[in-house]
Amino acid sequence: MYTDKRPLSPHLQIYKPQWTWVPSILTRITGGAITVGSLLVVYWLVALACGPEAYATAQAFFGNVLVKIVLFGFTWALMFHTLGGIRHLVWDFGIGVDIRSAERTAKLTVVASVVLTVLVWIAAYAV
């Protein structure tokens, strides 16, 4: 029977951080961050469609050091959310849901997301 007095389950601020759940909630948080960051992608496309002056303004904006740092974070969020998403997709088939596998893939996701982000930026500057 529903009552407002029922105890709530402990949440993010109360649980001790563990490999089983931190990367899971990070997948959701990075998803939200990418949603906001996608504004930048649309802005770049619209600027490119509007003409040379608008594009020059956009290039100056994206050339700013602070914006570059945001873009680096955006790249990481994209990589993490994608890898985390693949992990959740595999879980949906009932594969790797035991604690030891989950901890192993969690660490792999964190490491791979950072490595991929750095590689993407190195490649972008090298090409």
């Binding site: 998803g31 619209v46 490119l48 594009y55 994209l78 997709l89």
Partner: protein
Amino acid sequence: MSLRTPLGRAKGLGSAKEGVGHWLAERASAAALLPLLIWFVIGLIANAGADYEAARAWIGHPVNAVLLVLLLVTMFQHAQLGMQVIYEDYIHNDGLKLVSIYLTKFVAYLLAAAGSFAVLKIAFGG
């Protein structure tokens, strides 16, 4: 056997029978986004710092334009589905929850339309 409480049944609360469709749509769009994202990131790396003409040539190429429109539509579809679940889990005021969900959907469709129009405008040389 029903797992619903008698009060829940009496009040007509509970599943709206649409959860599976939403769940599948989120995963289908995720699966579609994976190859599109890999293609787009490689394109971004190859065209990083491109000047106006080079950037327009890249975005305006027919193959790139089609894939980019697909990416934009699928990405914002996936984003609004994901944001809906976040709001449903964390916003406990029904009115605010509804407003957040639909406002996000409207903005997502607006951004998908604006981005797609920009790509097509470039592709058609406007």
